[in-house]
């Protein structure tokens, strides 16, 4: 296998950054990696035909829909089940052939001779698993490295990984019933672009920025999908101590799955807890209206081995970030949506009665337990739900506080958490930030920060959680509104961005920030392995991207506006 898409990629060999052994650092084995490479390749072929069909006026949402789902399954920590990929490859090839027939018919109807395409458009998946896996080597992300060079391969990878992030966010919106023609067209076009990618750096960079722009539309669509489905988030307290009784833990990012689970458990006496990136669910009025949405359990994704083992009920992973299930809870963890692991039960919404049954069969939280809501010790809560409307609702106070100097600067500390010790940088930034700073958090990196009391400024909490990484649009709207109020550009706001990345959704968000011209982003804990020195030089030159460094020096520079 070869894979260097995520932050935890193997960097032990400086000559070849990336996971290239039988099993990657995420737990993905070489068979699954090869099958994912083949799936991506065939899916690019769908884009080749679908984009051309659309240019002739033919529109079928099935192409972008499948593309979004298929690429989402290949995101880090989503689907590790090789049998699922064998099925998906067959489905992708069938859909590509449907797209081909539709395109050729539309071309002939328009009096044109259909183009004879090659590459993914004509790639025939082998029959037999061994042959299929062998095909993966020819289409994997570093194919042609010796001819094309690392710069080109790296920038192609940036485009692919950015597109994966776009697809993940799109899928989250699609499953809530929200679609956008611009987004569908953009996905088809991006798939087609990667099917026939250029060999020069400039058009690859240009396309990466276009993906960032596309992702802005996607994030706007997802913001609309979430707020129209579940209401506008409002500041809400979240119970951190479990209550006695039967319990289900829901992790991942998919609010639609959470709502379906809340519906299925209504009136059953089973409580539902959020985990990881589901924490912001408690801010949505339509979700917190369920009285059995009892609280949040645990922290960020990388601690799931111990947290899931200790949880006394079934666990559901609705999207990334799944890591290898441990024997202690393997029999009671379920996957939904794009997620999969060989040997774990996958649930559709129609199967949720089984989940309820599992919760009722498992012990649940006992009464008066240490750390429980009715047990000894002080009950802790967190406040979430400071999305754009909540923050902008007090915009006048915020603007006044900035004008009077009570608020000196905003720090947006956003992105993914992870296991590496270097990620302490972000908690250090938060704890050492001057008292006149407001800390805006986004993504699961918040768990490193939200255990402290940062106080208030003029009645406004210093720590405001905007939501999931999926809610980046909300953060951008806040920044743009403040820029409008001060009549300056976003780069001129007293705002510093500290971004921690882990997987490909972060790549898409980074491209969006860059496409908006936002500069001086501090990115860590390490820079992506797929970006070569030359690519990094370009990003530094154009956007002043900075790798994270010494906390004190970075804080001083940030406060000085650099």
């Amino acid at each position: 296998m070869f894979c260097y898409q995520c932050e935890q990629t193997d960097r032990s060999n400086p000559e070849l950054l990336g996971c290239s052994t039988a099993k990657g650092n995420c737990g993905k084995d070489d068979t699954t990696a090869a099958l994912q490479d083949v799936l991506i390749h065939v899916t690019l072929g769908i884009g080749q035909y679908a984009a051309r069909l659309r240019a002739l006026g033919g529109v079928d949402p099935a192409y972008a829909d499948f593309g979004a789902y298929a690429l989402f399954t290949t995101l880090t920590n989503v689907n590790f089940n090789p049998t699922r990929f064998v099925t998906l490859i067959a489905e992708a090839a069938a859909l590509r052939d449907t797209a081909k027939a539709a395109y050729e018919e539309a071309a002939r109807a328009a009096g044109q001779e259909p183009e004879q395409l090659d590459g993914p458009a004509t790639f025939a998946p082998a029959s037999g698993v061994g042959a299929l896996v062998a095909q993966g080597a020819a289409v994997r992300v570093d194919a042609g490295l010796d001819v094309l060079g690392a710069d080109v391969v790296g920038l192609r990878s940036l485009n692919l990984y950015g597109l994966k992030g776009v697809c993940a966010y799109t899928h989250h919106a699609n499953v809530l019933g929200f679609r956008d023609e611009t987004v569908d067209a953009g996905i088809e076009k991006a798939l087609a672009f990667l099917a026939e990618p250029p060999t020069e750096l400039d058009p690859l960079l240009e396309h990466a920025m276009a993906l960032g722009t596309l992702n802005l539309s996607v994030m706007e669509l997802l913001d609309r999908a979430n707020t129209e489905s579940f209401g506008t988030p409002t500041p809400s307290g979240v119970r951190l101590a479990p209550v006695p009784g039967k319990a289900i833990l829901v992790s991942g990012h998919d609010m639609g799955d959470l709502k379906a689970i809340l519906e299925a458990t209504a009136g059953t006496g089973v409580n539902v807890y959020t985990h990881g990136e589901m924490l912001p669910a408690h801010g949505y009025p339509e979700l917190k209206a369920y009285p059995h949405l009892a609280g949040n359990y645990g922290g960020a994704w990388q601690d799931q081995h111990s947290e899931f083992a200790a949880f006394p009920g079934p666990i559901v992973m609705t999207s990334n970030c799944l890591i290898e299930p441990q024997p202690a809870y393997r029999g009671r963890i379920f996957t939904m949506g794009p997620v999969g692991w060989a040997g774990l039960r996958h649930l559709e919404h129609a199967d949720l009665a089984l989940l309820v049954k599992a919760a009722q069969a498992l012990p649940g939280f006992p009464e008066h337990a240490e750390g429980a809501a009715d047990g000894p010790g002080e009950e802790r809560t967190l406040t979430v739900g400071f999305a754009r409307d909540a923050v902008l609702g007090v915009a006048d106070q915020v603007i006044e506080a900035v004008r009077t100097g009570q608020i000196g600067r905003f720090f947006l500390i956003g992105g993914c958490d992870g296991a590496k010790p270097g990620r302490n940088y972000y908690s250090e930034i938060a704890s050492q930030a001057p008292d006149d700073t407001v800390l805006l958090t986004l993504g699961c990196a918040k768990y490193r920060i939200n255990g402290e009391d940062y106080g208030t400024i003029g009645g406004i909490p210093r720590l405001l959680d905007i939501g999931q990484c999926n809610d980046t649009y909300s953060a951008l709207k806040i920044a743009q509104a403040l820029a409008g109020a001060f009549e300056v550009g976003v780069n001129d706001l007293p705002l510093s961005l500290f971004v921690s990345w882990f997987e490909q959704k972060a790549a898409a968000v980074l491209l969006t920030l860059l496409s908006l011209g936002i500069t001086n982003i501090r990115l860590g804990p390490t820079l992506p392995a797929f970006l070569t020195e030359a690519a990094v030089d370009v990003l530094v030159e154009k956007f002043a991207i900075k790798p994270i460094g010494d906390v004190q020096e970075d804080l001083a520079a940030a406060m000085a506006g650099a």
Binding site: T83, A342, A358
Partner: protein, 353 residues
């Protein structure tokens, strides 16, 4: 000799345990303990059952280092074991060792198998000398989830004794607390005597587990062929039922062997699971049909049927085998002769008790 010296001097040895999915765990083995015991002392519970070298549940392969393999029943290691094949309950290292475990990390747990109570919910004689026993967990502090992987077994304590008897589970893990076992009635056997003379619906028994290493290669993409002899059908049914329940699409073939027509059982259950899978077929094989008995199915052993079908098959399958040692040995020889690599074969031998 070396082991004695080690015991005398108190020398310990490092043992690296490597699972089939590449996870390594190092433990220190004192001179007076088997690898199985040393692992349990370290909080690592490896699949095992009898603890006395007679069941084969803890079979593994020592790929480096030296050891003493104590008293054991050689038949549980197969007819032609490769050098280094051991039973961990009887293996004491005499130098640092590396042990290849024939199962994934998921089969190693960090606590001993739970001991729980279960109620007898059904006792059905399903064929000559074969009883289906259904048990239902009594709700306790662990709840009442029957969590296990297909291929694993449950140990039932013979009422009124401290003796345990192990039976493979035929159903799938479930949230109703149900266990389904097939018991071959052994004349004069301790459990068989209880089952056929005393046991009644409503009785409460003590159960240990489930546990065990045998099971599906979860991420296997090849066709799955299953060979069960007698009550060795149980884990095969469990695996196929799990495939059906989870919508797993690998082509499946089942070969179920018994000696006589009177011993045939579970035909409805087999038909049901075959119908529920997208590409499955089953052959029930009767070795010696009784004269005058009505049997229009396959006559011969499951090995005969397997050899017949392997000749015309495409992709070499993963094969799962469970039954008496002689049958399992015959299947392994037939598979080796057909060129099926040993790593594609997972086997469990059961012995009468």
């Amino acid at each position: 000799m070396t082991a004695v010296t080690d015991t005398a001097t108190g020398v310990t040895h490092e043992v690296v345990l490597s699972t089939s999915d590449g996870v390594e765990n190092t433990l220190v083995c004192p001179p007076d303990l088997s690898i199985l015991e040393a692992a349990a002392d370290a909080g690592t519970y490896l699949p095992s059952m009898c603890g006395q070298g007679t069941c084969g549940a803890c079979a593994a392969h020592v790929s480096a280092g030296s050891y003493v393999l104590g008293e054991h029943d050689p038949s549980v290691l197969g007819s032609d074991p490769t050098e280094g094949t051991v039973l961990l309950c009887r293996t004491t290292p005499t130098a640092d060792c590396r042990v290849e475990l024939p199962y994934d990390r998921t089969r190693i747990v960090d606590s001993p198998p739970p001991v729980r109570r279960a109620t007898v919910t059904a006792i059905d004689v399903v064929a000559e000398a074969t009883v289906r026993l259904r048990l239902g967990l009594v709700a306790d502090e662990l709840g009442m989830a029957a969590e296990f992987d297909p291929g694993q077994f449950l140990q039932v304590q013979v009422p009124g004794t401290e003796e345990l008897r192990a039976y493979s589970l035929a159903n799938c893990g479930n949230w109703d607390g149900e266990f389904e076992l097939f018991v071959r009635v052994q004349p004069g056997g301790l459990f068989s005597t209880w089952l056929t003379t005393t046991a009644a619906v409503g009785d409460v028994v003590t159960v240990h587990g489930p546990r065990g290493a045998f099971g599906l290669r979860e991420n296997g993409l090849r066709p799955r062929w299953f060979v069960g002899g007698g009550t060795g059908l149980a884990p095969m049914l469990s695996m196929m039922r799990r495939m059906a329940e989870w919508g797993e699409a690998q082509p499946a073939r089942l070969y179920f062997g018994v000696n006589t027509v009177a011993e045939v059982f579970a035909q409805d259950e087999i038909a049901e699971v075959v119908a529920a899978l997208p590409d499955a077929a089953a052959t029930t094989c009767v070795w010696h049909p009784e004269p005058g008995a009505s049997w229009d199915g396959f006559v011969g052993t499951p090995v005969d049927a397997l050899v017949r079908d392997l000749a015309g098959s495409g992709e070499p399958p993963d094969v799962y085998v469970c039954g008496p040692p002689a049958m399992v040995d015959a299947v392994e020889r037939a598979l080796a002769a057909a060129g099926i690599p040993a790593e594609q074969v997972r086997a469990e031998r059961f012995t009468a008790s």
